[in-house]
Subunit: 138 residues, 2 copies
């Protein structure tokens, strides 16, 4: 299965991450590596199927796992029953809307967290602030 391109940048990105750019992987990457949403695996599957109806659920799950292992995505667990994927792999914080469940990024510099290095007896790998509440009506 080959794909007419415009996808060269995406293919390069996968190859730089040591991932063979199969058609399915490029299709999945095309959505998930550039979204500002924080989609679940099934969200990604639904979206990719629009352009690529034959892609299987297993392939989407496997591919998201692969991208995560190769540092292109992060997995987040912020709400019940759903792992979501985040293409912003640099440290940042998150806001979770109580009403809609939407997850939004908060830039690292927008909040200030102190004294993490004073925690006793732990080697910290990462940390983030999770803010919950409501987006204000405009």
């Amino acid at each position: 299965m080959t794909r007419r391109s415009g996808n060269q940048a995406l293919i390069d990105r996968l190859e730089r991450a040591d991932i063979r750019p199969s058609a399915q992987r490029v299709a999945i990457a095309g959505y998930v590596l550039s979204t500002a949403d924080h989609p679940s695996a099934d969200d990604v599957w639904q979206r990719v199927k629009v352009d690529f109806p034959m892609v299987s659920r297993a392939t989407v799950y496997n591919t998201l796992q692969l991208f995560t292992e190769h540092g292109l995505l992060r997995q987040l667990v912020l709400a019940e029953g759903k792992v979501v994927f985040d293409p912003m792999v640099e440290p940042h914080h998150h806001f979770v809307d109580d009403e809609t469940g939407a997850i939004e990024d908060i830039p690292w510099s927008a909040l200030r967290v102190g004294k993490v290095d004073e925690l006793e007896g732990v080697d910290v790998r990462e940390y983030m602030v999770v803010v919950r509440g409501r987006r204000r009506r405009p």
Copy 2:
């Protein structure tokens, strides 16, 4: 179904929270309201069944939900595939051990978070720092 007591304090606590203290609810409360763990619903079920073998899974789920609605517990989602319950309802932060999955409380005063009130366009209900890493070998 009646239960020999020593449970009067627990019964009072449920009644103060406007919850009728059935035998099942008292048994569940006896574990979940005083644990330092952050147990899942099925963890609670397994534990309560030791002393109370006939309790059903639905009752445990319903009761934990009820306790949460009445402010005796909080639900946390910090790792995949499992909602956990936390009897410490005051604001605090959490450490998640990458190796064991164990969740530990970090007192509110142990970390310092600034600029949350400067976030634009959101009404903040709560926030916490989630720290991930490894507990250091002693």
